[in-house]
């Protein structure tokens, strides 16, 4: 089972728009390999307010802190461009 983190993070992007690294708890986590973007739809009609998007942007990637063992993470990008570290899959 993954750990739910839900913490705001700063993410460094490549010129192509892929995450290269993110800073969580003051430590830089470097992305290893090709991260995959996934857009998951929402049941927006069940929520309050009129949505501007019908999906949420998630990036699943492998990253490691320094030389430590790599973990799999889910990063979520909000419509305002801010990032949240959603899950740590271990």
């Amino acid at each position: 089972m993954p750990n739910i983190i839900d913490a705001p993070v700063d993410v460094e992007l490549s010129p192509d728009g892929d995450p290269l690294a993110f800073i969580w708890n003051r430590f830089e986590h470097t992305v290893i390999g090709q991260p995959q973007a996934v857009f998951k739809r929402t049941r927006w009609w069940e929520n309050e307010g009129t949505p501007t998007r019908i999906d949420t942007e998630l990036w699943r990637l492998d990253a490691s802190r320094g030389g430590e063992e790599q973990h799999r993470y889910d990063l979520r990008r909000g419509t305002d461009g801010s990032w949240v570290l959603a899950l740590d899959w271990g």
Binding site: R41, E46, P51
Partner: protein, 1139 residues
């Protein structure tokens, strides 16, 4: 043409909003976005058609990018097995071959489905697609929705490869390309990278090119919400219940960077060689190059194509032929008016022909005149309308029947070297014969040259709120209540309307309290204006040469004839000639009147030759009893006619032209009326303007006057003057026009002061005003219908009742007939026909017999049998030959249509009905021509003891009016308001017929049933509501509710149908009167309250009486004890009772 890699991405698969209930972004917005993203190419590939194609090509031209065209089509194989959906793209720079093949492919897809069943979705056979793709005309993209893509999604690679091989064998080499689509969906769902990367591998293995697309459904990610609504509307299911909602919101028109990112993820997800990514993008770009269409050479944009000369019966040069026909027409039409008139007509003809020759439109005029000849040859009434009426050429060719010279109309308003768009001639015909005309035109010109035009119906308030409500899963009843209130405002402005409109206040409160309704308001606004479905245009017929079907895709219209997928906005750019053949019910009504007159008297009336100066006709018009008369029967028109008091034909033209949104907003009616009635002196500003403005007493009303003023001021010529006139509506153009006008007018001898004055008038005119050609063309049927109403009221009203041409419900026409002394006779199976017929009555007057189709729930076959077998000898005979269904049989008996079988003794109708209801039998299918025996089936006369047992309860307590309203929706016996007349008398309600006798400013109570509601355009923009009330005493009473009264009355102003109104009379002109409404009550509530009050009063009176009686008794006892004076006490008692 191609820009640097990475900067540009060519979208090859894009649905526009014209893919109804699927795409949600209009072509212009897509093209603009693509250009802003740096793209140099954009294709539109709408579902099942090229609905948005012309708009897309024009938008691309405007944005400076290359257009591509295609269609997303379903394909089937030889055994009719579905092969999924593919994208068919036309190749460019093929001199139109690719575009023609695409048009034919779309038409073929529709032809198959039309041939099978109307419910079947369009689909093209692969064999046919292969034929059309020959000569390198088309590319077929096999994407995720194709049979190959679906096999890949099933992970059945063997099947996918086999199916792909089949496509390669069936289609020409190079015609098949694989389409990679990835919406970055979650793995395991549609649109994830896995099937996309496997599709890419399939292409590599088969050595076929693959291209990347985004299967676009909307421009921006925000619009994904709207696409969700479109899905709900397409499947008719709430969003929560959709089986296959869009997988996420990524089907937007992504810019190059985002598409490259998608490509990278697809390539990275599989085992592909190092060059795979660049190869995919390169192939995409190469295909875009191949599919770039040249708007002119491929699509034929801007090239008019007229029917071939031989088709319009011309052997030689069309220009010579046109001259010949026009010259002989002038001799025919003008010689009676003298040689000077003939000369003037010839001079005008020469002038017009110069322009026609210069523009190369001779064939056009011959084509239109040929169609007019066809229609006239069928014996159908025809009347040209629109600016074409300003042309002597059209008059001489008998296309139009209004003389442009004596009416002061201008050719240049219609056509000039400065006005290069294809001319537009509208033809009004009898509405009941319109389809016959279409079929005949198809036959005469050939179905490869003719097509009906389509129109795109866009979402408006009610449709939008219904579909948004459906998507949210709101209960039908709730949506209905809201939809009923979506009235006369744009759905886009729903939120603002909720804040501003007093009648929406209850809804506004609900919205504030419900999160779901709040969402509904936003979603409704999103749907507003989006194309919803296409249907056949009510009058547009496209005429062209034999290349028509290479230039427009067609599909079957509701009436079976082929219909182009292009709408009226696409006609001129595509060089397609469109003729508006509009069915006008008034023309049918007048034709019916003329026929009835002929049937009864043998006399033929030629309406087009009726003199236009009949005093009695104008007298009727001036009396404002214009109900039923073309164009001038609305409450507002009645009022204006009353003020204007027309005396000659031109007054009618002026009247009709004044009653238009533009002139109303510009306060022209008031200015004109003041000058007409001598309240102010006409101001012509300058003697040289007087000839131009004399006919309207110095007020500029007509476009033609503006054109003449420009010409007089600047000498620019009428053609250029019309360009100026059209630019007056554009504020940014005004300074340039003013500068030009000042310079030239000064040189032509006008003073600065005069120029200042006239410029103020012209600039203020803006785009307001009306073409006199339109006004004159409308005035003719106005006059003709008024003439019929004056001289042949029974025949005319029977025409109105049969064809229902106007704004008023039939009840009111019936009431008008009653007032005119023409009774409408009840339904009778012996004499009622399929239409309303005039009957000569015993007293020498005429009546109108109710028509059979009015019987609610009767079938066409039953009615046809009644009409065919009339008259009937007995009830048995009627039953045997008509074989009515039970429901029809009983309804006929109830309304009295079978009274003939009981000797027209109304009191016995309950016996007849009971008898029919008691009949038992089994249902049988009967042939139309079945024989029957003539035997007696007498209605038993029940009497004596049994009388109570057999009375049909259905008739108990119901008046003939109730029964007629129930089974006919129309009361002809007595007026439905008659039952309230006692109440009206008690309340002091003024009858509508008495209103005209009251002075202005009198406080009155009015009551009646609502017959019409109008919110005409008003100066100042504040909404005014006109309600026409019918109380059965005469013409309608018109009540006006201004803004303050609307606030007081609230929603009732639209919702209450039976009402009591308090207001003040307002005189308008010599004859007109209307009422300014102050308050409004529901008539039933009032009736109930009065009844309750009566009950209370009765109770009080009884109480008082019994109290008095008690007192009397006491007094009597006392008196008995003292002295015997009972007489006085009795007198008291009587007084208490009467109180």
């Amino acid at each position: 043409m191609t820009s640097a890699p990475g900067m540009d991405f060519a979208h090859l698969h894009v649905a526009s909003a014209y893919s109804t209930h699927y795409g949600v972004t209009l072509p212009a917005a897509l093209a603009e976005q693509a250009a802003a993203q740096g793209a140099s190419f954009l294709a539109i590939t709408d579902r099942d058609g090229l609905y948005g194609a012309v708009k897309h090509v024009r938008a691309c031209v405007a944005e400076g990018i290359r257009p591509g065209l295609g269609a997303e089509l379903a394909v089937h194989d030889d055994e009719c097995r579905a092969l999924g959906r593919v994208v068919v793209l036309a190749h460019g720079h093929t001199n139109g071959r690719g575009y023609a093949a695409l048009c034919r492919a779309v038409s073929a897809a529709h032809a198959v489905s039309d041939a099978q069943a109307s419910s079947a979705a369009p689909s093209i056979s692969r064999a046919q697609l292969a034929d059309l793709a020959g000569l390198a005309s088309l590319t077929v993209l096999l994407g995720p929705d194709s049979d190959v893509g679906l096999a890949v999604a099933r992970r059945d690679n063997t099947d996918a490869a086999a199916r792909l091989a089949h496509w390669q064998r069936a289609l020409p080499a190079d015609a098949v390309v694989l389409e990679i689509v990835c919406h970055l969906a979650e793995s395991g769902t549609v649109g994830s990278v896995t099937p996309a990367t496997r599709m890419l591998a399939l292409a590599e293995n088969a050595n076929l090119p693959a291209v990347l697309s985004n299967a676009v459904r909307y421009g921006t990610p925000e619009e994904a919400v709207t696409a969700d609504l479109a899905d709900a509307a397409r499947f008719l299911l709430p969003l929560a219940e959709l089986e296959t909602p869009q997988t996420n919101g990524q089907a937007w028109l992504k810019p190059a960077g985002a598409m490259r990112q998608v490509a990278r993820m697809v390539v990275d997800a599989g085992l592909h060689d190092a060059g795979a990514l660049e190869r995919l993008l390169r192939h995409t770009e190469q295909l875009a190059d191949r599919c770039s269409l040249d708007p002119e050479h491929d699509i034929g944009l801007g090239h008019p194509r007229m029917p071939e000369a031989r088709i319009i019966g011309v052997t030689g040069d069309p220009v010579t032929e046109l001259w010949r026909r026009a010259t002989s027409g002038i001799a025919d039409l003008y010689s009676a008016s003298g040689s000077r008139a003939v000369e003037a007509a010839h001079a005008q003809l020469a002038h017009e022909m110069k322009t026609v020759e210069h523009l190369g439109f001779a064939s056009y005029f011959l084509t239109v005149s040929r169609v007019a000849d066809i229609i006239r040859g069928m014996g159908i009434r025809i009347q040209a309308r629109g600016s074409g009426v300003g042309s002597v050429l059209n008059y001489a060719l008998h296309t139009s029947s209004v003389d442009p010279i004596s009416n002061g109309l201008l050719f240049e308003r219609f056509l000039s070297p400065e006005r290069q768009t294809l001319p537009d001639i509208d033809i009004d015909v009898e509405s009941a014969r319109r389809h016959d005309i279409y079929r005949e035109v198809f036959r005469a010109f050939g179905s490869d040259r003719v097509s009906l035009m389509s129109m795109t119906n866009a979402y408006r308030g009610r449709g939008a709120v219904r579909d948004a409500g459906l998507a949210l899963g709101l209960p039908d009843a709730q949506i209905n209540v809201i939809a009923k209130q979506m009235w006369r405002f744009n759905a886009r402005d729903f939120r603002r309307a909720l804040e501003e409109k007093p009648e929406l206040e209850a809804l506004a409160t609900e919205v504030r309290e419900s999160q779901q309704l709040d969402l509904l308001v936003d979603l409704t606004a999103k749907l507003d204006r989006l194309p919803r479905h296409i249907s056949v245009h009510p009058c547009g017929v496209i005429l062209s040469d034999a290349s028509l079907l290479d230039r427009t895709p067609v599909q079957a219209s509701g009436m079976g004839l082929p219909m182009s997928q292009y709408d009226k906005h696409d006609m001129d750019p595509m060089g397609l000639i469109k003729l508006d053949i509009l069915g006008v019910r008034m023309q049918s009504a007048m034709a019916h009147a003329v026929e009835e007159h002929h049937r009864l008297t043998g006399e033929s009336i030629d309406l087009d030759r009726v003199p236009l100066d009949d005093p009695k006709t104008y007298e009727l018009i001036r009396s404002t009893r214009t109900l039923g008369i073309f164009q001038i029967e609305s409450p507002g028109q009645m009022e204006l006619v009353g003020k204007l008091q027309p005396e000659v034909f031109n007054d009618l033209t002026v009247e009709i032209s004044l009653f238009r949104p533009g002139p109303m907003k510009n306060n022209m009616p008031l200015k004109y009326l003041q000058a007409r009635h001598g309240e102010v002196a006409p101001d012509y500003i300058h003697p040289r303007f007087e000839p131009i403005l004399r006919e309207t007493n110095g007020v500029v009303i007509f476009h033609e006057q503006v054109m003449r003023l420009f010409d007089e001021l600047t000498g620019c010529g009428l053609g250029k003057a019309d360009v100026f006139r059209r630019h007056l509506g554009k504020p940014e153009q005004l300074p340039q026009i003013e500068e030009y006008l000042r310079e030239h007018a000064l040189a032509r001898g006008f003073s600065d002061k005069v120029i200042d004055q006239i410029w103020t008038v012209l600039a203020g005119f803006g785009s307001f005003g009306f073409a006199k050609a339109h006004g004159a063309a409308f005035a003719l049927p106005t006059y003709q219908s008024a003439w019929l109403k004056t001289h042949h009221p029974a025949a005319f009203l029977s025409g109105l009742l049969t064809h229902d041409p106007g704004m008023w419900p039939k009840d009111l026409i019936v009431a008008e007939a009653r007032v005119l002394g023409v009774p409408v006779l009840p339904l009778d199976v012996q004499s009622s026909a399929l239409d309303y017929r005039v009957e000569d009555l015993a007293d020498g007057s005429q009546g109108i017999r109710l028509a059979l189709p009015e019987l609610v729930g009767s079938t066409e076959a039953e009615r046809a049998r009644i009409a065919r077998h009339q008259p009937f000898g007995s009830l048995q005979d009627f039953r045997d030959r008509v074989h009515p269904r039970r429901r029809t049989f009983e309804a006929l008996a109830r309304v009295g249509a079978l009274d003939t079988f009981i000797g027209y003794d109304r009191t016995r109708r309950h016996e007849l009905l009971a008898h029919i209801q008691s009949l038992r039998g089994t249902a049988v299918v009967i042939r139309a021509d079945q024989l029957a025996f003539e035997v007696e089936l007498p209605v038993p006369r029940y009497s004596g003891d049994r009388a109570g047992a057999i009375t049909s309860l259905e008739l108990r307590g119901r008046t003939q009016t109730d029964l007629e309203l129930l089974d006919l929706n129309l009361a002809v016996g007595t007026h439905q308001m008659t039952r309230f007349h006692a109440l009206f008398k008690e309340l002091g309600v003024t009858p509508a017929s008495e209103l005209g006798n009251l002075p202005g400013g009198t406080e009155v109570l009015l009551a009646g049933v609502r017959r019409a509601t109008n919110t005409p355009p008003m100066r100042g923009g504040r909404r005014v509501v006109f309600i026409s009330l019918d109380d059965g005493t005469g013409p309608v009473a018109n009540v006006v509710f201004f803004h303050d009264a609307q606030e007081r009355v609230g929603g009732q102003v639209f919702q209450t149908n039976y009402m009591l109104v308090r207001g003040r009379t307002r005189r308008s002109g010599a004859r007109g009167v209307s009422v300014t409404g102050e308050n409004l009550w529901n008539l039933f509530d009032v009736a109930r309250q009065v009844k309750e009050r009566h009950a209370v009063e009765r109770a009080t009176a009884e109480e008082a009486a019994s109290a008095a009686a008690y007192a009397a008794e006491v007094a009597a006892q006392a008196a008995a004890q003292s002295s015997p004076r009972t007489l006085g006490t009795l007198h008291h008692l009587g007084a208490a009772h009467s109180a």
